[in-house]
């Protein structure tokens, strides 16, 4: 009875209700869209750092990621350790050897970081094969064929087919040096990778560094990157002494903080936007209650309890919130879907920005994330209730004798 009464009451001033409703729908829908785009940006950032370089988990000697010590190496077959093989969350593993040295061609030389990889495995961990702008990915049957970043290629004026010399400190104290042939050029948008990173076949780098059958790390990709820390903890007890598994959050602490801060900033954005909407709802219901003072007086005179009056008004706001939510969620999902499938390309206006170890791509692209719907939905209902509380209280406290005389 109360519900149908509340529903009918809502439409007594149709224009006012529709205006308030549309404000609620628009704010909910836009909020869902904006959060989806923000999530998309963070996902791009995380992906740029993990899928272009680190992977989600890295298995190496302790502190290798800090010191990059040439001698902190492991046998190559540790990549097939049973603990790693048996973990179902691990999708792929790539053993890597890393070397810092000088790449030179005639009189120009540049400091670089070379990752010695098994191309087939590395392509399952990082996705540089999707970023190739010229030439091709290295292969094992081309012993000294390498892929370099575009920034490096531009600086040294290199093209596929060019011959380079790589010089580094080898593990036996000698000057490790060998010829390298450019086979491919990649561009990620992350200037550090594009200016510094070189991918070469693992056996070649092992020979140059005089580290036969050794690697520095195993990079891994998981089914869900957000579970990385948990899986790292789970793996640790089963791995050999003097090794450690780090998740991307350990390798990129700023990124972890940025993503943690996103949870907080999402609440702040939602709160600010809904405060405005909440004031609109408050206004609507105050007006509505004031207009109906006489009516409430009559209802109470006929024996309706103040609790029921309060319930009636609250039910009205909640009903409005529910309707707004249903339409808002629908519109928000549609817009998010569009931004997910199509998105907006900003390449013409901005260049990629590197921030907190990741790259923000010049595009607006949304992803679906449950919290981006649940938080705005829950908050909208909560705000409706809070905004309805004051008018409902006022209605409940009316003195029927005074109220019926009101004109």
């Amino acid at each position: 009875m109360l519900l149908s009464l509340a529903f009918r009451n809502l439409w007594r001033n149709r224009r006012r209700t529709l205006l308030t409703l549309s404000a609620m729908v628009v704010s909910a829908a836009l909020l869902i869209l904006a959060l989806g785009v923000f999530s998309g940006m963070f996902k791009d950032m995380l992906a740029s750092a993990t899928e272009q370089y680190y992977g989600h988990l890295v298995f190496a000697q302790p502190e290798y990621h800090l010191r990059r010590d040439l001698f902190a190496n492991l046998p190559v077959d540790i990549a097939n350790h049973p603990a790693l093989m048996n973990e179902s969350e691990i999708v792929s593993r790539s053993p890597r050897l890393r070397s810092f040295g000088l790449l030179s061609k005639e009189l120009s030389s540049q400091p670089v970081e070379i990752l010695g990889v098994i191309p087939e495995l590395e392509q399952q961990v990082t996705s540089l094969q999707n970023k190739i702008t010229a030439g091709r990915y290295p292969t094992l049957d081309d012993p000294n064929g390498a892929m370099i970043g575009r920034g490096l290629a531009n600086k040294m004026k290199l093209r596929p087919g060019d011959e380079l010399v790589f010089v580094t400190q080898a593990a036996d104290g000698s000057i490790g040096n060998d010829l390298l042939i450019v086979r491919g050029v990649f561009a990620t948008g992350d200037s550090r990778n594009d200016n510094n990173l070189v991918l070469a076949p693992l056996p070649w780098l092992q020979q140059v560094m005089v580290l036969p059958d050794r690697i520095h790390e195993v990079a891994m990709i998981l089914t869900n990157p957000m579970l990385a820390a948990e899986i790292a903890d789970r793996l640790s007890p089963h791995l050999p002494e003097n090794t450690e598994v780090l998740d991307w959050g350990d390798l990129l602490p700023e990124m972890r903080e940025v993503i943690a801060a996103y949870g907080v900033s999402r609440m702040i954005i939602v709160t600010i936007l809904y405060l405005a909407t909440g004031l609109g709802i408050l206004n609507t219901f105050f007006m509505s209650v004031m207009e109906r003072t006489r009516e409430f007086g009559i209802l109470m005179a006929q024996g309706m309890r103040p609790m029921a009056i309060r319930g009636l008004v609250l039910l009205e706001t909640l009903l409005l919130g529910g309707i707004a939510l249903a339409i808002g969620l629908f519109c928000g999902s549609l817009m998010t879907l569009y931004m997910h499938q199509v998105g907006i390309d900003l390449t013409a206006y901005i260049t990629p920005i590197t921030y907190a170890g990741g790259t923000i791509l010049p595009r607006l692209h949304a992803v679906f994330e449950a919290d981006n719907f649940l938080v705005p939905a829950g908050m909208l209902l909560l705000i409706s209730l809070i905004a309805g509380f004051l008018p409902a209280n006022r209605a409940a406290r009316l003195d029927p004798v005074v109220a019926v005389r009101e004109e």
Binding site: F71, L102, S104, P111, V167, G173
Partner: protein, 251 residues
């Protein structure tokens, strides 16, 4: 006021000032030549040397046989003879530039500024040492810290505009014969990070030089580089053309 009043006391004062400056000037010149002598003891106006370099690190140990030529302070060429794997690897220094020749790839590579602080041939000597050691007397303010009966202790602090890596260098030099005993290197935080000790003092021609020097990187106590001069010949008939990139490649 008292000084101003009498011309005599004024001249006395200037005499005093003059007297206090004079020995200082003489001494400053003296220190400079001491340092220059130390840094060029193996070079003279020109030289050829055969050296054995033993490098010990916590991960490996190796011994290199090398042959080196030098001309004044500006030209220097060194070539590895042993081990066979590295035979022909050579370094050329021309003024403040360093070049390496790598026979395996048959290429000459100029050491870029960013790598000048890097190890030379895997030792505890850096490329910078090859270039800058000879300019200590120009790049640093020198000061006699202590003089005993047998030794000078000389402190070198970098000049404001000098591009150097050390915060301070201290030379301990024996007076007679005038040979270095020890050099201590301090970083910018004034922490002692490296010592070079000299030993095996021999007369070579008219010169007296220590034929063995030991480089100790103090932050790695179990590591060292020992450079031993087996042959040393001064005043050869060499000119600049000997120190060419072409000669770096082919002996």
């Amino acid at each position: 006021m008292f000084i101003d009043s009498t011309p005599l006391s004024r001249s006395l004062l200037s005499l005093l000032i003059l007297l206090s400056i004079l020995p200082g000037t003489a001494l400053a010149l003296d220190i400079q030549s001491v340092i220059r002598e130390v840094e060029q003891q193996y070079m003279g106006s020109s030289s050829r040397a055969r050296t054995t370099m033993q490098v010990k690190t916590s991960h490996w140990e190796r011994t290199l046989e090398m042959e080196a030529w030098s001309l004044e302070r500006d030209y220097f060429l060194v070539r590895i003879l042993e081990p066979a794997k590295e035979r022909g690897v050579a370094t050329l220094k021309r003024n403040r530039e360093v070049w390496n020749y790598l026979p395996k790839v048959d290429r000459i590579i100029k050491v870029p500024p960013s790598m000048m602080g890097g190890s030379w041939m895997g030792s505890h000597i850096t490329n910078d040492d090859l270039v800058k050691a000879n300019h200590i007397d120009e790049d640093f303010h020198l000061r006699l810290l202590e003089e005993t009966e047998s030794n000078y202790v000389i402190e070198c602090l970098p000049k404001e505009d000098a591009a150097v890596v050390w915060g301070k260098i201290i030379y301990r030099v024996r007076k007679t014969p005038q040979v270095p005993e020890q050099i201590d290197y301090f970083d910018e935080e004034m922490v002692r990070v490296r010592e070079i000790h000299f030993a095996d003092i021999q007369q070579i021609g008219k010169r007296i030089v220590p034929l063995r020097l030991t480089v100790l990187p103090l932050e790695k106590p179990d590591e060292m580089t020992v450079l031993h001069y087996r042959e040393l010949v001064y005043d050869l008939d060499l000119d600049e053309s000997y120190f060419s990139l072409r000669n770096l490649e082919s002996p």
